[in-house]
């Protein structure tokens, strides 16, 4: 808004633009190309129009996978956001424990997806995994490879373990920026802890919280590695999310047309939902400070 205007800046954007063009836009165009054509092999393509899109949109397989995705994201948000806030509220705000807590919190974030999947896959096995073994000894019939509920539970726990820290760290950054005077005023006004949370902490972390929601939604909606490593989408199709289904269609069955159409639809859904979140975020935190006010 108040940035100086300089034409030279465009040159600095150019390399990134080229990189994005090569890495994203060109493959995307290939996908678009595939999505409107059919092939019987030998590199012979026929014009198929919107045929694949119609097929994908009407297939129950797609509907089921989409349903699973939405359910999964909803569960993830419902668990990670409140849990993240709760943990952030309990973290110390000053003292020697601050760096220790922050490092502990950041640790899971540093572990790659497939490693997380593998860790939990082993952890949950009844023969060699601690969790699986304990469950067995406790008399709980836990088996993610055969039971739908157990598979889902395992993936959700995995994701919660892996990503709640992100929500915690974002909320924490919002919480520490609240001036001490707010808490003091609330004490003097006789506000309960819940009211302090509702009227001071929550409004003040609203903006970072919405970023956390957006990030966690997008990321959970694109879940792939964890179910893939754990059960490969099973048992049955119970953890076959859109991404897994897409790979199955494209590489497993080599149905390039439907796979391409599906990925475009998938892409558009993510885009649409992110846009919805973004708009909500913009309007929700609408009372923006005047750009001319230096401090408040």
């Amino acid at each position: 808004m108040n940035k100086p205007f300089n034409n030279k800046a465009w040159f600095f954007v150019l390399p990134v633009f080229l990189l994005v063009a090569i890495s994203a836009i060109i493959p995307l165009m290939t996908v678009v190309n595939y999505s409107v054509q059919d092939t019987f092999g030998n590199n012979v393509f026929y014009w198929a129009g919107t045929e694949w899109f119609k097929e994908v949109l009407h297939s129950s397989r797609f509907h089921d996978a989409l349903g699973r995705n939405l359910l999964f994201s909803a569960i993830i948000l419902a668990i990670e956001i409140p849990l993240g806030i709760a943990i952030a509220l309990t973290l110390p705000k000053k003292g020697i424990w601050v760096p220790v807590c922050l490092i502990l919190m950041a640790l899971p974030l540093l572990i790659p997806w497939n490693v997380v999947g593998t860790i939990w896959q082993v952890f949950g096995r009844a023969d060699i995994g601690l969790l699986g073994y304990t469950m067995l000894k406790l008399g709980v019939d836990y088996n993610y490879a055969t039971k739908v509920f157990d598979a889902w539970a395992t993936i959700i726990v995995m994701d919660v373990w892996h990503w709640t820290s992100l929500v915690v760290l974002l909320c924490y950054s919002g919480l520490v920026s609240i001036p001490e005077a707010y808490y003091q005023a609330a004490r003097i006004d006789g506000a309960s802890k819940w009211k302090v949370f509702k009227y001071i902490q929550l409004p003040k972390i609203k903006r970072v919280l919405l970023i956390a929601v957006l990030l966690r939604f997008m990321d959970s909606f694109m879940i792939y590695t964890e179910p893939f490593v754990l059960t490969g989408g099973g048992p049955g199709n119970s953890t076959t999310f859109l991404s897994i289904d897409l790979v199955k269609t494209a590489i497993g069955q080599f149905d390039l047309g439907p796979a391409a159409a599906m990925s475009i639809i998938y892409f558009l859904i993510v885009l649409l939902l992110s846009w919805v979140f973004y708009t909500v975020m913009e309007n929700y935190g609408a009372e923006k400070p005047d750009s001319r006010v230096e401090q408040d």
Binding site: Q184, R187, G190, Y199, P203, E287
Partner: protein, 361 residues
């Protein structure tokens, strides 16, 4: 409403203080009357905010006791002490309307709804915010927000004291006048004990019945604005109060006679034998700039270095007998070509080792 007593208060932020330097507050004994308006005045780091937080209960002092109406409150929380506090930056609940903000402390205390409604309506009138009652508090100007912070204290009719921590810092000069008078008239109307922390002498002097001047964790003087202006107990008080501050000049005093450099003057009061560093203090308001013929025998040559026309007054800066002296003169006054400074003998204060010495007339 309460009388507040500070009994030998000392505070250190270091849990194991070893020397006096570790104490932010050295040793403070005060008694503040019920319904009085007090200001804690001093430069940053003098301990005034620490003392305020000890009175409000946000801090527990390392030593000593805080008493409200002779009841020990030292270990009680702010809510138990039933006080209100207004902070430097306005604290408002962003998501609530103006009216909801004012109702908040009453709702928390479980007061009946009709009563809350009445009190909030009254307070909106008093604070001249009635037309904004249903607006979100977030979009208001700084002075309106500060009024709301104050209002949240005032709606609780029974508060023991209202404490202010530099409440006008973020307010524009014109609004400062309005808010200050509002504060003053609210004090007259509600008769709460009010304690006001500031580094701004104008705010302190105009607000308070009694001003507590602090320096480095000590109280230097407690007095009415006139006492602080006329008879500062310490040269620092003389310097800190007044703009420009009191002129302090080294002098020799014996009995009623005063020797300033090469000039001899007669004081109106006699002083016993003084030891140590002896100085006199004279406020710029009581230095007259005049010509040699009108100055008479007590006139001293004034080497003027600058004259600042600040509108209603002129600040004349220069040297008398080699010492820096400032004078304040009326906007219409002219400075003669060969200026002489005359000190009003009635207004000269005498200091020994920086502390005021009272003479006998």
């Amino acid at each position: 409403m309460a009388q507040i007593t500070l009994d030998n208060i000392a505070h250190s932020f270091d849990p194991y203080p070893t020397s006096e330097a570790d104490y932010a507050l050295k040793s403070i004994d005060c008694q503040w009357e019920d319904g009085g308006a007090y200001a804690l005045l001093g430069p940053s780091g003098c301990g005034k905010t620490t003392l305020l937080n000890i009175i409000s209960g946000l801090l527990t002092p390392s030593n000593g006791h805080v008493l409200y109406n002779n009841k020990d409150m030292t270990l009680l929380t702010p809510e138990q002490r039933n006080i209100a506090q207004v902070f430097q930056f306005p604290v408002i609940y962003d998501t609530m309307t103006v009216a909801e903000n004012l109702a908040f402390p009453l709702v928390n205390r479980g007061i009946e709804r009709s009563e809350i409604h009445n009190r909030v309506t009254d307070m909106l009138q008093t604070l001249e915010l009635a037309d904004k009652a249903d607006r979100k508090a977030q979009g208001l100007s700084a002075d309106e927000k500060q009024k709301i912070s104050l209002g949240r204290g005032l709606v609780r009719y029974d508060v023991n004291a209202i404490l202010f921590d530099e409440p006008l810092t973020v307010i524009d000069p014109h609004m400062k006048w309005q808010l200050r008078t509002k504060l003053k008239s609210l004090h007259e109307q509600f008769e709460h004990t009010m304690i006001y922390v500031t580094h701004d002498q104008t705010e302190a002097l105009t607000f308070a019945d009694k001003v507590v001047v602090m320096l480095k964790g000590n109280v230097l003087q407690i007095g009415t604005p006139e006492e602080l202006f006329d008879n500062p107990a310490h040269t620092f008080v003389g310097y800190f109060i007044g703009s420009p501050g009191m002129n302090i000049l080294p002098a020799k005093i014996s009995g009623k006679s005063l020797k300033l450099g090469s000039v001899d003057m007669q004081l109106n009061k006699g002083y016993a034998e003084l030891t140590g560093k002896t100085e006199i203090g004279i406020r710029p308001e009581f230095v007259t700039v005049t010509s040699a013929s009108e100055a008479g025998s007590t006139g001293m040559k004034f080497d003027i270095e600058s004259i600042e026309d600040v509108g209603r007054q002129k600040i004349v800066r220069g040297k008398v007998e080699g010492e820096i002296v400032n004078a304040l003169i009326d906007e219409d006054s002219e400075i003669p070509s060969e200026p002489y400074a005359v000190f009003n003998a009635d207004r000269i204060c005498v200091y020994q080792d920086s502390f005021l010495v009272n003479g006998e007339s």
